[in-house]
Structures are given as structure tokens and as C-alpha cells.
Amino acid sequence: MTSTDTSDAAADTLQGGPRRGRVRTARRGVPLPLLLPALIGLAFLLLPLIALLLRAPWSTLPDQLTSAEVWQALRLSLVCATAATAVSLVIGVPLAWLLARADFPGRGFVRALVTLPLVLPPVVGGVALLLALGRNGVVGQWLDSWFGITLPFTTAGVVVAETFVAMPFLVISVEGTLRAADPRYEEAATTLGASRFTAFRRVTLPLIAPGIAAGAVLAWARALGEFGATITFAGNFPGRTQTMPLAVYLALQNNPEAAIALSLVLLAVSIAVLAGLRDRWMTAP
């Protein structure tokens, strides 16, 4: 995403400059020892996608895609990913603010903890969620006996698992934007009579909106593709917890054509998201 951003910006600047300079930069700038691995890298990233398109069962595709299971899984995926993003926004943005602006002992340690789910294998995250929120979990047993709330193996559980995995992306993105934003705008707001919360709501939030949007897209994309934590914590029940990635994985075992069709749908959704948001948000500062 960043690379799109920078290359676009670079293209913009170049278009303003003299044309001769542009050609010269392109010719001269790339030494072979860099160009060759770069092209291999590009091919490596593109090849699987091309293979997916080449082997797609185009003739039976309409039938595959109109099946009720596909729509069920797709709808569940979109709903859960969006819900997980919403939850991440509500609790993740304040967390990012805390990490960026508040001064408290052990802040570095807390930040490390927040980023832990980024590197933690999602399956481990799922197991940890079960131990915390499962029916006999540390908190889950109280949720169950006091409120009758059971999270594992429910749609809400899917949202919980996806939020756990996706929120760090949002937090890191928003925290970075907050650090880059000038805190003196908040000071200016307080000298005008705004409380710290008002200053955050009316000044900081609008200023970091592009960063929040970028973080939300990252989190949404991560939630949409979530597999490990979801299947561990929420299981794999069609219509309730079977999201697209789970459906793709299962379909691959007994109906590869369906798996390819489902994958194409996810690919299309991803491309649509990138294309739709790129101009509005990704190129913003």
C-alpha cells in the first residue's frame, strides 16, 4: 500500500518535471544486480494470482458462485470483517492515542504487547482466546454463568477472533499518524477552552483521519482473510462461523473448482477495496 502511495507520488512529481529528466532517471537508475531480483520478486508475487486466473473454471463459474453456500460464506465474511473493524476503531483508536500521547511508565512494554498479535501465529491466538473467553476460560466462565454469554463457536466469536488479529494493524497505523501529527494543535485547542477530549474529537481526529482510514482498511483486509484464530476459536459451522477462507480451505479438499471460484471472489473483493479506496485515502498524506 505504501509502495503504491510513493510510486504514485513519484509519478506525480515526475509528470510536472521535464520529460527528458524522467526518461534519463528510468534508464540510468536501476543497476542489473537490483533489477534482476526485483523482477523475480515481482513475478513471484504475480505468478500465483495468474495461475488462479488461468485455472479458473470459467465455464462453471456462474453456477459455483450462485450457490447458497458461497453467498452465505461471503456475506458472513463481509459482516464479520466489518464488525471487527468497527470494534477495532472504537477501542483501537483510543489505545493508539494513549500510546502516542499519554506518558505512563512501561509504555514501551505496553506497545510491544499491543503488537504481539501481529507476530503471533493466529492459531496460537485462537488457543489463547479459548483459554480466556472459552466456556471454561479465565473470563469466559463468568461471562457464561453471569450473563449467559458464550463466545466460542458463534458468529460473535468470529468477530472476536478477527478483532484480536486485526486490531494491532489499526493501532500501529493510527499511532504512527498521531506521532507524526503536531501535538501543538491540541495545545492550541486547549488554550481556546477545549478539554483534552474535545481537542481530540474536534482537532486531532479530523487531522489523523487519513491514517485512521488507512489503518481501518488494513485491519479490514486482515480480518477478511483471517483463518487460524477463527477456526480455532469459532470453529467451522456453515452459516454461523464459516467465513470465506474457511470455506475455501474446506472446498479444496473435496471440490477444488469451488475453492478456485471462492478464491476468485476474495481476490475480486481485495482488488475492489484497493481500487476503491486508493484515490480517496491511500494517496492522502
Binding site: E187, A188, T190, T191, L192, A194, P206, L207
Partner: protein, 399 residues
């Protein structure tokens, strides 16, 4: 110095172009308290006119940093414009931030119109700040930037915007109401920032290097405007600057700060005539020496004596402008000047249509001379010269 006077005269001109400000003082009429923002001139006094004991600012600011300690006392009556003048890193901005509540006081006190403010958070202080780079909220229009303060103070959206529109009109910026800050020029931004700070009806207005972000041409114009707005402002205004010209044009009183301490305080003309530190002397373009006076003679701490017209005794300063110095190639014999020293040219630079010679030797000093005189004397770095100053052109005062 001549510059200062010229600009001061500019600034003192009565307002002509922009709409003459409608200066309404006192309370805003009988029903003013219930809806003070609606359709009223924004300078309306926000507080009921009860008897307020010691009006104005009474502050003793002490801020300890790891490598730096600020310790200054500041007092000002309503209507005063006080300039904190000092070199970079002297602690001026820290003092301003302490007044605004953005930096906590380590010790001391802060009273404004008799109310203790040291523990009051910045949002609850009746203080308005114009920041050095203005810090206009980039996502809000000029109008909404100004309306922000009244809105935070509880005015309705419509009332605060009406108030902001009035301020824009006073600043002559009505046609820029819907402009975002990035589309405003430096001078326009400065006026919006000033209006934004004033729209909260502060009892203390703080300006951090108000003209530093402007180019030379805009600066002159904005300085004159700012001077007018400050003259209208009925509460205390404190501005911070490292530019003596800004300080002298805008302020009634200067507090010179060096290394976190106030080294001199007084009216601009007083400070210009009686500098007490090298920094101020340089600012106002004077040669300044400290010594011990005995009658007409001041024996300088650095060696030579200077004959003066004043009769003093005890520690004293002697000051004279570089233009009072006359240079000779040979030791002066018949000259009426009793003060002459053997010096050496350390450096030369053009200074307007004059040459400023930097001299070292018996008495380090700065001398101004014409280009012709410099050529006749064959001045160049390292050239030996004799410098003389008439006693009548020196000025001695007790230290």
C-alpha cells in the same frame, strides 16, 4: 534606532483603510449576561464589573528544566502590552507557555485579575494565545477556526459563528471566511490567529514571535495592524520576540530576558538609552561599558577610562553610539576629544550606506563611518587606527 522611530511613527498613524474598529468597553448592556455572544462586539467584557482588587497580571514564573531554570517576575495592568525580549534560548517561550498553562510552574505564582491560576488547566484559563506559526486548524475554515473558542466556551453553533463573522469583518477578512488556512497568506493567517485568540475574550493575550513567520514586506504592514489591535485590547497582552524593533513598536514596556532571568525592564526608550547588558546594547546599536565613576571620569573594568559630561560616583555604565566614534590614522593631537584609544580593525561590514568597523585593542568598540572616510583611512582588517569620542557624545548612568 532611526528605523525604530520611523516604524513607530508608521504604526501610530490613525487607522485608515480597514473599517474603524468599534471599540465598545464595559458591559454589553442590560441583558448581556444571558446571551453575550449574540450580535455583540466581541471585545465585550466577559466578567461582571464587580470590584476586582489587583487588576491585571501578577506573576512569578519559576520553571526548572534539566539544563535550564526560568525565574522571572512579571506584572502588568490591564491595557499594558509587555514584550519579553531576549536571544534565542533565553526562556521567553517557556515563560509564555507557563502563562498559558502548557508548562507547569515549579514554583512561584500566577494571578490574573486577582484570581490564582497556577493550578488552573489551560482550557480553564482566560488566556488567549497566538502561536508563532499560528497553528490554525488546517481542516477548519477561517470562520470555524475563530468560532472554535466561543463554541468550546458553550456558545451555540450559530452564535459562535456569528461572533466569528464579526471578528473576520474587523480584521478585514470577510471574503476569506470559507478559506482553509492553507489558502491564506501569512498576513491573513496572522490576523485569523489573532481573531481566534481574541474571540474567547481573554484577560491575558499571549503572542509568541507574532511576526517571525512573515516576510519582510508583509511584516511592516502586519506590525502596524497588530499594534492597532493591541492598542484596542483592554486586558493584558504579553508578547515574546527576539526582534527589538517588534518589541519597541508593539510594547509599552520591555522585559529583557537572558538565561532565564529578567536583566532589565522598562519603557522602550529607557532601555534603548540605558542598556545594562551587552546583548541589549548590541540590539539597540550602542557601545556599552561598565566601570567605576569618579566625577567626570569612568574607569572601565576592562582598563581605559572615559571622560563624560555627567558627574557620577560608584559603579556606572557608559554608552555611546557607533556614529559618535571618529577614526584617525595618526595619534590625535589637536583634537578636542579627550577620549582616544589605540585600536585595530577586526572587521568591516556595510551597514545601510555606512561602513561599520569592528575594532579591537585598548577598547573594543563599533564605529560607523562613511564609505569615503573608510577609503581615505585605508581601512582593512588588521589596520591600526586611533578612535576618539567626544565626552558630550557619551552617556553615563549608574549601574
Amino acid at each position: 534606532m532611526t528605523n525604530t522611530h520611523a516604524a513607530a511613527a508608521d504604526g501610530a498613524e490613525p487607522p485608515q483603510g480597514p473599517p474603524a474598529p468599534n471599540h465598545e468597553s464595559g458591559t454589553g448592556g442590560a441583558g448581556g449576561k444571558t446571551n453575550p455572544a449574540e450580535g455583540r462586539v466581541p471585545t465585550t467584557h466577559p466578567h461582571p464589573k464587580t470590584h476586582r482588587t489587583p487588576d491585571g497580571l501578577d506573576a512569578h514564573l519559576v520553571v526548572n528544566r534539566t539544563t535550564f531554570r526560568l525565574d522571572i517576575k512579571l506584572t502588568a495592568a490591564p491595557g499594558d502590552v509587555v514584550a519579553l525580549l531576549g536571544p534565542n534560548g533565553a526562556g521567553k517561550t517557556t515563560a509564555l507557555r507557563a502563562l498559558a498553562g502548557l508548562v507547569p510552574l515549579t514554583a512561584g505564582h500566577l494571578r490574573l485579575d486577582g484570581a490564582e491560576l497556577d493550578r488552573t488547566p489551560p482550557e480553564s484559563r482566560p488566556v488567549g494565545v497566538v502561536f508563532q506559526d499560528y497553528l490554525l486548524f488546517p481542516h477548519l475554515t477561517a470562520l470555524d477556526n475563530i468560532a472554535f473558542g466561543p463554541r468550546c466556551q458553550g456558545a451555540t453553533k450559530a452564535a459562535s459563528r456569528a461572533q466569528a463573522a464579526e471578528w473576520l469583518a474587523r480584521m478585514g477578512l470577510t471574503e476569506h471566511a470559507t478559506a482553509k488556512p492553507r489558502h491564506l497568506s501569512g498576513g491573513q493567517s496572522q490576523r485569523v490567529a489573532l481573531a481566534r485568540a481574541l474571540a474567547t475574550s481573554p484577560r491575558l493575550l499571549l503572542l509568541d514571535e507574532p511576526l517571525a513567520a512573515l516576510d519582510a514586506r508583509t511584516r511592516l504592514e502586519v506590525r502596524a495592524q497588530l499594534r492597532r489591535h493591541l492598542a484596542e485590547f483592554e486586558a493584558v497582552a504579553v508578547l515574546v520576540t527576539h526582534d527589538p524593533l517588534d518589541a519597541m513598536v508593539l510594547a509599552d514596556r520591555l522585559v529583557v530576558i537572558e538565561d532565564g532571568r529578567a536583566v532589565q525592564e522598562g519603557t522602550p526608550s529607557d532601555i534603548a538609552r540605558h542598556p545594562r547588558t551587552d546583548y541589549i546594547a548590541q540590539l539597540v546599536g550602542l557601545n556599552l561599558y561598565k566601570g567605576h565613576a569618579d566625577g567626570h571620569t569612568v574607569r572601565l573594568d576592562i582598563g581605559p577610562a572615559i571622560t563624560t559630561t555627567e558627574i557620577l560616583s560608584g559603579p556606572a555604565f557608559v554608552a555611546f553610539p557607533p556614529s559618535a566614534v571618529t577614526l584617525f590614522r595618526d595619534p590625535p593631537t589637536g583634537s578636542s576629544a579627550r577620549n582616544h584609544w589605540r585600536c585595530e580593525v577586526a572587521g568591516l561590514e556595510t551597514h545601510g550606506d555606512q561602513i561599520r568597523a569592528d575594532l579591537t585593542g585598548e577598547l573594543p568598540l563599533a564605529a560607523d563611518l562613511t564609505t569615503v572616510a573608510a577609503a581615505e583611512l585605508d581601512l582593512h582588517p588588521g589596520a591600526p587606527v586611533w578612535a576618539t569620542v567626544k565626552a558630550t557624545q557619551t552617556h553615563a548612568y549608574p549601574a
